[in-house]
Symmetry: C2
Subunit: 351 residues, 2 copies
């Protein structure tokens, strides 16, 4: 079965095709619009920036169904170019028409790297964030649009992204591993020897997308990276990294790290910026959190130091897939290293 064990190396065209194709079904758009935290925060951010949008020209990068573009038109934009590469653009056209916004919002089908706009723009809006922030690497397209189409001094919404990490104790993993010890009582067959195999399968190197509950978070999260969308370069995105330092709240067994992000929108007339957060301490979003399982749990007590470096970078054979490499120490334990990647769903079969 070796030719399945090897990851299929897809050329860039096929990778892009799979990527865009995944947005051509209704389900993901339903999920995104129904994500109230996401959609309402963008709406509020656009309305609060209406001074900067009114009478101006806007570019919506990866416009999808065109909702953000319509928010911008409602905030007074003179013109919105809603650029969308995937076939969902056909729905955006219908929605714009249905909302009597054809004079304001122009849907342009194509990638932002290849389309020609009639003019440069004063505002870029985009909802580009993927799992673990950078999966799908749509941010590259936003930066391309910024460098090619945004006038100097123009506004980018959101303007900043931050990445956070915290050690966690995920109970499901331990329950799943313990399961094999319960079979003997249930069925009279001792399957405890499955635990080693189960451990390798479950404490694996996949970046899992899970809902982390507050009770499972073992320290205040630490911020390890910040991206200023006005200035960050595509080159810098090839390796987003930083140091982290956490102090555990109390006695627990760390079996994973949780990584999540926030994006921030400037609010000129308000004391506080508007933050769209995917923190486990905040209301859940469709992004949930990214969870990275350690190969074995480590005991901590109050104030145990959990420190390390974390680096996020695109997979070599598949630039839209994110990888995370960690070097970390927990308390007095030896320093550990582990590399994780988003599972390659396109080569998995499910029964």
């Amino acid at each position: 079965m070796s030719h399945v064990a090897k990851k299929r190396k897809l050329d860039k065209t096929r990778q892009d095709t799979l990527y865009f194709d995944s947005y051509s079904d209704v389900t993901i758009h339903e999920e995104m619009i129904a994500d109230h935290v996401r959609t309402n925060t963008y709406r509020m951010a656009i309305l609060r920036n209406s001074e900067s949008i009114r009478g101006k020209v806007v570019l919506d990068v990866g416009a999808g169904t065109g909702v953000l573009s319509i928010f911008c038109a409602q905030a007074g934009a003179k013109k919105v170019y809603a650029v969308e590469a995937c076939s969902i653009a056909e729905q955006a056209v219908k929605i714009v028409k249905h909302n009597n916004m054809e004079d304001k919002v122009e849907v342009i089908r194509g990638t932002v790297e290849t389309v020609e706009l009639p003019e440069k723009v004063e505002v870029i809006v985009s909802e580009w964030m993927g799992y673990a922030l950078l999966h799908e690497s749509m941010l590259n397209s936003v930066l391309y649009a910024r460098d090619k189409w945004l006038k100097p001094g123009g506004l980018i919404l959101p303007s900043k992204a931050e990445l956070f990490i915290a050690p966690i104790s995920d109970p499901v993993v331990e329950d799943r591993l313990h399961f094999w010890y319960t079979v003997k009582d249930q069925y009279g067959v001792d399957m405890s020897c499955m635990s080693e195999f189960a451990r390798k399968c479950i404490r694996n190197s996949d970046i899992m997308v899970n809902s982390v509950t507050v009770e499972d978070v073992l320290s205040h999260p630490a911020r390890f990276a910040e991206l200023d969308l006005h200035s960050v370069t595509a080159e810098e995105l090839r390796s987003v990294q930083g140091h982290f330092r956490c102090e555990s709240f109390g006695s627990a067994a760390v079996n994973a790290f949780c990584v999540y992000f926030t994006v921030t929108f400037p609010c000129p007339d308000k004391p506080h910026s508007l933050v769209l957060s995917t923190s486990p301490f905040k209301p859940e979003t469709h992004w949930k959190q990214a969870v990275l399982f350690l190969d074995a749990p480590v005991e901590v007590v109050q104030d145990t130091l959990v420190t390390g470096e974390i680096r996020m970078y695109p997979l070599e054979d598949s630039a839209r897939h994110i990888c995370i490499h960690m070097d970390y120490s927990i308390g007095q334990e030896k320093r550990q290293s582990k590399t994780f990647s988003i599972p390659d769903w396109s080569s998995e079969a499910q029964p």
Copy 2:
């Protein structure tokens, strides 16, 4: 994007590889062993047939982790050949050893179509059922084993399989379609024109694997096919079909059909056979039920007649994938046809 729209035509070797490979992770085995209805019914069935198993030779087709083989050894089998093609056989070897059954249970790695057994057997046991009973088409391997290795008059566990259908009203579909009408109130953007596109995506031709709740079932289920495992042929499996006739309980909107199966184990000393059921009226199993969505809902009242023919057959390009064709009438409505298939998970990418 046309080359992604076409289903990838995989040769049989690759199909088989993907199929077996999906059983090499712990998760599916966890799911099957944790399915108490499944595992305990097999255990009870084997114990109740211990008269026919004691001192006899057994073949376990697709033995997985070897649990059923060990049940047979515990029931007094002289010898059990546990045939398993996938790498999980390595775990079966460990488990047999761990339970001190090496003298009784011999794990043989390979497909049942290619392995050589030292002798013919008196009993075949197999848990071969896939979604909608026939997805994965493992039954063909059981029949092959029966024809090649089972002595005349030998026992097959289970000995019978039955397929059932009932009209249902799935509320989730309607909620999902209605969602696009709620966006205007929530965000001030009228997205109701998305409903046609959403309808095509959601009321599609996929065989969905869902948990159907009892409240959603609109008539007594009708049995449409029965397979006698002692006599059914591989040729007959290429088209499993039958007629059905249901009378709806009361006023409702049928928007789908639910298909499920039972398998039956003979119980020589008991008045009733032992039935493993995946009916929505019975405790849930990991198989859930197969749900087939109509293109549009149809109103029914008390005693409305729902009749038709249903035919299950393997997909031409991918024999392990099942298709279902239905011709049906609901009340006075014109006769309808629709063809469904299990989605091709191996060519889908998820963001």
